[in-house]
């Protein structure tokens, strides 16, 4: 058993989800501390989900001021100028989130994430970077990895109607139920079978995974990566380099930048000795012109991300290893495993 029992109020509120992941997992959730940086539509969805799930605390970092774009896909910001004038996105979202579940501590941390010391991250069990720059993602991931305490690290990025999630759980031990047949019964019956499985605790299996760092995962040579891998992986790497080179923030681009982006793509493909068809131009065009997020994609990617964080905190269930891609155009949500193991 992990510490104190859940209170009667918690048991009543979380009844339906305790039936999904169990009381122990719920207990661990209520003790977890999540740091979230960069709040737009997808991250707003993510925050809503983890607050409802009953995590211990959520610390929000986003000093940008509320503007029309923020109002668009972020339902945590009420469109009342009197309410949000002069406030940062984090501050407004904090107030809304508290409302969803008074048992969760939601607070705001001001300042630049990349300027934080390694010790700062020790306070958290999970760090989520939304829409971060390449440099920030690398720096924070390195700091998290330096700590003796394992801090789960996630990045998330949504553009147009696509999304990317990156997961780094370092060396991770977890339990899972090894029945694979379960999920193919797409029926009411499935849920019943699943529930049945939940009771068979003795059938759980202990597993271990080793995750590559963010730095490693984005620097993997392209040639050995299997051809069927989601094109979004490569496209996002191109965009990452573009934004870094041009000093742009997330989404600060347009069709006018396409030639520059295609140049970067060409160079990257050459450097990796792969043909240019490896990264479809049309996909790159979508990503730089579709600067506002697509709310349904936000809901989907925000939901997947929250499930991952819940799994990592509870230590229960097989985690995504190590990228997730969604594209509303083909409707697929895929997991991709990308590490240097391809080269060995």
């Amino acid at each position: 058993m992990d510490g104190e029992e859940l209170t009667e109020q918690e048991t009543a509120l979380y009844d339906r989800q305790i039936r999904v992941w169990g009381a122990n997992a719920q207990r661990r959730l209520t003790k977890s501390h999540i740091l979230v940086s960069g709040i737009k539509g997808t991250v707003a969805e993510f925050c809503k989900n983890i607050v409802l799930a009953g995590v211990g605390s959520v610390t929000l970092m986003d000093d940008s001021l509320v503007n029309e774009e923020a109002l668009n896909a972020n339902f945590l910001i009420p469109p009342d100028e009197n309410a949000y004038r002069g406030k940062t996105v984090a501050e407004i979202c904090c107030d809304s989130l508290k409302d969803f579940n008074p048992m969760v501590l939601v607070s705001v941390e001001k300042g630049d994430l990349s300027a934080r010391s390694t010790e700062f991250f020790e306070k958290f069990d999970v760090v989520v970077i939304g829409y971060g720059s390449l440099a920030t993602k690398k720096a924070v991931n390195e700091k998290c990895r330096k700590l003796s305490k394992r801090v789960a690290f996630y990045t998330v990025d949504c553009r147009d109607s696509c999304g990317e999630i990156f997961v780094d759980l370092q060396d991770y031990k977890y339990t899972k139920v090894p029945c694979m047949m379960l999920q193919f019964c797409m029926s009411i019956l499935t849920s019943l079978l699943w529930n049945f499985q939940q009771k068979k605790l003795e059938e759980k299996v202990e597993c271990e995974l080793n995750f590559p760092s963010f730095q490693e995962a984005v620097s993997v040579p392209w040639k050995p990566i299997p051809r069927r891998t989601a094109k979004l992986y490569f496209a996002m790497r191109v965009i990452e380099v573009f934004e870094e080179n041009e000093g742009r923030k997330h989404g600060q681009c347009s069709l006018l930048d396409l030639p520059t982006v295609l140049e970067i793509k060409k160079k990257l493909c050459e450097a990796n000795t792969v043909s240019e068809s490896h990264v479809p131009d049309s996909l790159l065009e979508r990503l730089i012109t579709g600067t506002i997020e697509f709310p349904p994609a936000c809901a989907i990617v925000g939901g997947i991300l929250a499930q991952e964080v819940i799994k990592a905190v509870s230590g229960k269930g097989e985690p995504l290893n190590n990228f997730f891609y969604y594209d509303a155009q083909d409707g697929k949500g895929v997991m991709e495993n990308i590490s240097n193991s391809f080269t060995s």
């Binding site: 339906r16 047949m181 999920q183 009411i188 697509f294």
Partner: protein, 627 residues
């Protein structure tokens, strides 16, 4: 996506949402954010505490209020200028007729029961409005699109019927915990606290029971000043001791089955329960009836804890006492309610004692409550994901992008790397009695079965008709409606009690019945075939309906007959997940010309993109090979 065109189809669309619960809250939010401006939402429920872990538009202060109304108010707060119309009503109400449905461009379901889904399916077909269906349970979810004439309707693939158990399994030969729950809930609880006039199979006995039935009826009656504790023990001994011994006397039953053991209160409980008596009395002055509970009086705090026989027995007696001491007025009118703590405690205890007797593993209150209350386990994330998928399909429907319609499955573990798996919809089933008007065949004993049986079990339950009409040729045998005069109603009631062959227009072998629901605009022909005998175990209803082509049930059988503890008993309100396993059938794309100009860079073929859902066993085997 062509944004301009897309935005205008969204802005001009009129959308109906059915359901404002788990999926509904997420859906309404996402629709509003996506630019929809005219949304109607129907939901008959009010808000409960257990909803708040995922139905995020609601707050604790809203408990008891209409879900549809509160959801509307909450969304208007961040999108004040859109039009949302809420209806606190049952979607099956006559006001939601075909004309009502015709005003919408698309209907989006976020329901939690099969009955309502079928009803909406039929109305959408009648109104020729596309329907996007969905369902979630735990981490699993799915979204499907149904467009009349183009894709399957929701009922083209038969949905698993609500699970019912043969009476004898419940009354005499339980083998699973759920059987004990059904016994405790629908028999014992009903007998003790429910309507006394209802038939009750609790004392179904072996053949040699003879004349003692009067005695046993008296056992359940409590004399005016009979000591509650004594009464409780008497009931205990009767149902767990005496009844079991009587059942054991029938050798035949137990030839190949594990014999239950009789349990008597004196072997489990202390003779004198003065301590417990004292605590019950002490509480009389201050206790609020609705929060009366046996557990705290017995020092039991954790609903997830497994109780032993003694503890269960103590709870049994204590809960029974509390009903009589604190809630006497309700006795005789109670029905089991999962939110009635005392009822849950009683049913858990009773089920566990019976389980102990039959060698079935015991369960905690938490688990028992889930089974007895048919509780669907649910989390916010799956609902959010499914809501996103629904909106994406809705947009395709509005743009009439038929090639792009997909059924999307949200999985817990990746299958061929996919957590979200899109599949092309199937063509309508030409043998679907709902959208393709296939006639049905009913095997029934026309001399023994009454019209009432046919109406209840076939027309209402199996065919899902709401306001049915039953005709034999020109003769109207039965109908439901507000505008019927007393003579007609009396006539129909009389017909219900007659056996089929004795009806004014006799229904015999070879007769063809027409059953209709005018609201759903559904009409079915049923060919009646007389059959003398039905197997009590395999055909407990005493009749068999067939005729439409079932989807080649791939691995469905193993699931439907599984050892699932959470399956319900007699009356099922099942989980919220929707359509089941697809089979190998004609895919939509096979009949349409190649019109997608695939980009030259995109080398993946159609086969790669869309997975065919095969036999689950085969798929899992495939997966093993790849790994």
């Amino acid at each position: 996506m062509d944004t301009q065109q897309q935005q205008s189809s969204i802005q001009g669309a009129k959308v109906l949402m059915v359901g404002a619960g788990g999926i509904g809250c997420e859906l309404l939010k996402t629709l509003a954010l996506s630019g929809f401006q005219d949304i109607h939402i129907i939901d008959m429920d009010t808000i409960e505490v257990s909803n708040l872990n995922r139905q995020f538009l609601f707050r604790r202060s809203h408990v008891g209020q209409s879900k549809a109304k509160v959801a509307r108010d909450a969304v208007l707060r961040f999108r004040p200028h859109i039009n949302i119309r809420s209806y606190h009503a049952n979607v099956k109400n006559p006001e939601f007729d075909v004309d009502f449905f015709k005003q919408f461009d698309v209907v989006l379901n976020g329901l939690d029961n099969l009955d309502a889904r079928r009803h909406v399916n039929r109305l959408c077909l009648a109104a020729d409005v596309p329907l996007v269906e969905s369902g979630t349970t735990g981490f699993l979810g799915q979204v499907t699109v149904h467009v009349k004439g183009k894709t399957e309707c929701y009922e083209c693939q038969t949905k698993p019927a609500p699970k019912t158990y043969p009476v004898c399994t419940i009354t005499s030969t339980p083998t699973k915990f759920v059987h004990c729950i059904v016994w405790a809930k629908d028999l014992l609880f009903a007998k003790l606290f429910g309507d006394k006039n209802q038939d009750n199979d609790l004392n179904v006995r072996a053949n040699n029971a003879a004349s003692s039935s009067k005695e046993t009826e008296d056992v359940f009656e409590r004399a005016e000043d009979e000591d509650i504790d004594q009464y409780g023990r008497k009931i205990y001994d009767h149902v767990f001791g005496y009844n079991i011994e009587a059942a054991l006397s029938n050798e035949e039953t137990w030839k190949n089955r594990r014999r239950p053991r009789p349990i008597y209160s004196k072997e489990v409980l202390p003779e004198c329960m003065s301590q417990q008596n004292g605590s019950t009395q002490n509480c009389s002055a201050t206790d609020d009836d609705s929060t009366v509970s046996a557990m705290p009086l017995l020092g039991l705090k954790n609903p997830q804890e497994l109780w032993g026989l003694t503890q269960n027995s103590l709870v049994f007696i204590e809960a029974l006492k509390l009903f009589f001491a604190k809630r006497k007025k309700e006795i005789g009118h109670l029905t089991f309610d999962k939110d009635d703590q005392l009822a849950v405690e009683f049913v858990t205890a009773a089920a566990n004692i019976r389980a102990e007797s039959f060698g079935i593993p015991l369960h905690s209150l938490f688990e028992a409550k889930g089974i007895a209350g048919n509780i669907v386990h649910a989390v916010a994330t799956t609902n959010a994901i499914v809501a996103g998928l629904i909106v994406i399909e809705a947009i395709k429907v509005l743009k009439k992008d038929a090639d792009k319609y997909r059924m999307t499955y949200c999985l817990e573990h990746p299958s061929r790397k996919m957590l979200l798996m899109p599949v092309e919809p199937f063509e309508p089933n030409p043998a679907c009695y709902v959208c393709s008007k296939t006639p049905l065949v009913l095997e029934i004993n026309t001399r023994k079965s009454k019209l009432r049986d046919l109406v209840d079990k076939i027309v209402t339950a199996k065919l899902g008709m709401n306001l049915p009409l039953v005709m034999h040729g020109a003769s109207l045998l039965y109908e439901v409606g507000d505008d019927l005069d007393a003579i007609m109603v009396a006539n129909y009631n009389a017909n219900l009690e007659k056996s089929l062959s004795e009806l004014p227009s006799p229904v015999i072998n070879g007769s063809i019945l027409t059953v209709e629901d005018l609201q759903q605009e559904l009409s079915c022909k049923i060919n009646v075939k007389h059959r003398e005998e039905f197997d009590e175990e395999k055909e407990p209803e005493g009749m068999v309906l067939s005729g439409w082509t079932q989807s080649p049930a791939t691995n469905g059988e193993s699931a439907s007959t599984s050892n699932n503890e959470n399956e319900k008993a007699v009356d099922v309100t099942e989980s919220s997940s929707g359509p089941e396993m697809a089979s190998k059938k004609r895919r939509l794309s096979e009949t349409q010309p190649e019109n997608d100009k695939k980009e030259t860079e995109n080398v993946e073929s159609d086969d790669d993109e869309l997975m065919e859902i095969e036999n689950p066993v085969m798929v899992s085997k495939k997966k093993k090979r790849v790994e």
